[in-house]
């Protein structure tokens, strides 16, 4: 349309309107067909995006379930979950994963015990203590930690940390102690970032109120801010736990991976995740099915973590 055409085009309808609704009444335009189609198409596009995520979860669960389910039927659920012996290649194979579950929990909780306080401390530092200038240096460093591939953590654990632990403990250095340190550093950025968000989302009025009552910075952090951010911090820790329990590559490199029940924190161990990487290349038959059974258990554990976060957030919402 040229500029010259415009006035003619816009005056024509106005003359009509003037008859029925007075001289200056504006007209409401009707929705055009192309706009309508565009909107509908976009809506469906986003629906498809969301559907892909849901479908992926379902498909993986169905696949793992389908492949792993027979082992429960074969050994019995109690023997599978409650058996201590993982002897898949013995004359009389035994597929008990209790020791693996316990090892996974020990590795996770130990990493958490070291990493969570460090991470929450980092979050408090970033949110409450650091000057903006310092914060702009420290935060990217913490974020970078999240971006390091887990195999690099494993390499660091294997070649830098393990010799030190070996010297200190007199063993080979493969074991829980090494894994705890590696896991602690790996989960630090996750917990720190989410905890920091939780702390920063506390309205500044809350801080002012505390200071205005004669509270020190430390009292304000300890008695007001950390309790106020409690739900977010617990969520962060559970997410960190999920990351730790699912971590495979870094753990496999420092765990030693022996199929015996370890009798100390400096002894090699096998977990739910590492058993899959270690055994899968040569497993066949029931052994392979049992590894899918382990995957089902891992899947259910992650689901439990996600559910826990939802329940805790809901409880927190009701509380305040």
């Amino acid at each position: 349309m040229t500029l010259r055409d415009e006035p003619a085009a816009s005056t024509a309808p106005r003359a009509d309107v003037a008859d029925s609704r007075g001289p200056d009444a504006p007209t409401l335009s009707t929705i055009s067909r192309s706009t309508y189609l565009k909107e509908a198409a976009l809506k469906n596009l986003f629906l498809v995006c969301a559907f892909v995520a849901v479908a992926a979860v379902l498909l993986i669960f169905m696949f793992v379930g389908y492949r792993g389910w027979p082992i429960f039927a074969k050994t019995g659920l109690a023997a599978f979950l409650g058996g201590l012996q993982w002897q898949p290649t013995a004359e009389q194979p035994q597929f008990g994963i209790l020791a693996l579950i316990i090892n996974s929990l020990i590795a996770t909780l130990g990493g958490l015990a070291l990493g969570a306080p460090l991470a929450v401390g980092t979050a408090v530092f970033l949110s409450e203590v650091a000057t903006p200038r310092v914060r702009e240096w420290v935060r990217p460093a913490v974020e970078l930690l999240a971006g390091i591939p887990s195999v690099v953590y494993g390499l660091f654990g294997l070649l830098a940390l393990r010799p030190i632990i070996a010297q200190a403990s007199g063993g080979l250095g493969f074991g829980f102690a090494t894994a705890w340190i590696v896991l602690a550093v790996m989960i630090l950025p996750t917990i720190a970032a989410i905890s920091e968000d939780a702390l920063r989302s506390i309205p500044s009025g809350i801080r002012e109120a505390s200071y205005a009552m004669g509270a020190t910075k430390w009292q304000t952090i300890w008695r007001v801010l950390l309790p106020a951010a409690k739900i977010g911090i617990i969520d962060a820790i559970i997410l960190g736990m999920g990351r730790a329990i699912g971590e495979t590559m870094a753990v496999v490199m420092v765990a030693g991976n022996a199929k015996v029940i370890p009798d100390g924190i400096f002894k090699p161990f096998l977990t739910l995740t590492t058993v899959i990487v270690i055994d899968m290349p040569y497993a066949s038959g029931d052994h392979r099915t049992a590894l899918f059974g382990v995957a089902i258990v891992l899947f259910l554990i992650s689901m439990a973590f996600v559910a826990a976060i939802r329940v805790i957030s809901r409880l927190g919402g009701e509380q305040s």
Binding site: T131, G205, I206, E208, M213, A215, S320
Partner: protein, 274 residues
Amino acid sequence: MSEKLAEHLAGAPSGSSQPDKFAVRKLEFYYGDFHALTDITVGIQRHAVTAFIGPSGCGKSTFLRTLNRMNDLIPGTRVEGSVMLDRQDVYAAGIDPVDLRRRVGMIFQQPNPFPMSIYENVAYGPKLHGVKKKADLDEVVEKSLQRANLWKEVKDILGRGGLTLSGGQQQRLCIARVLAVEPEVLLMDEPCSAIDPTSVQKVEDLMAELKDRITIVIVTHNMQQAARVSDYTAFFLQEKVNEAAELIEFDRTATLFTSPKDRRTEDYITGRFG
């Protein structure tokens, strides 16, 4: 500076027998390079309500926050001149702002209860300052809620979250929380601008009850409120953008509102600007 103000500073104003609770002399305040307040000299009468009025951005809240050093929390702020609380300079070297704030409490525009129970909100201050026994805490909590006129409404729901209360109740909870540490001065920064009219009434009644024992300073946008609740009024004005705000006039509230000495005060209270 008005004559009345000079007279007020020279000694106590007519009718008062005690020295001022706060005596501020030649206060200058800076946010970084920005000169926010200049040449503020004023006395705050003890056991009375003093109102600070003036248009938005005139520095009245900033000035209020210099009295308990809340501005210290903002990086880059600077104070010159003196702020004497009972003849002691609160900005003198070595003065602990934490102890100052215990004695000079503050209420904010937005009610800001902690996300914890009503009981824990009120017990927070006493716990900070060393009260540990449950019986003692129970007593302080009840007494403070009663003084804040909130006890009757919450005595059966003390375990419920402070944030579940209505806005007006939350503000009274904040007042109870401050009263629990027995402050000598209560600074109120537009305490009624975010709450409903019924609650405003309650908070205003409360101020009248509290001033027997506490010195109150209130910043308000609402001139009717200043006229209703205060004994003394200070009018602040920033005459030009980017220029430091000044104290234009300070007097007994009745005098300031009926026969202001400064043309600018008169313009403001008659609604000619601001």
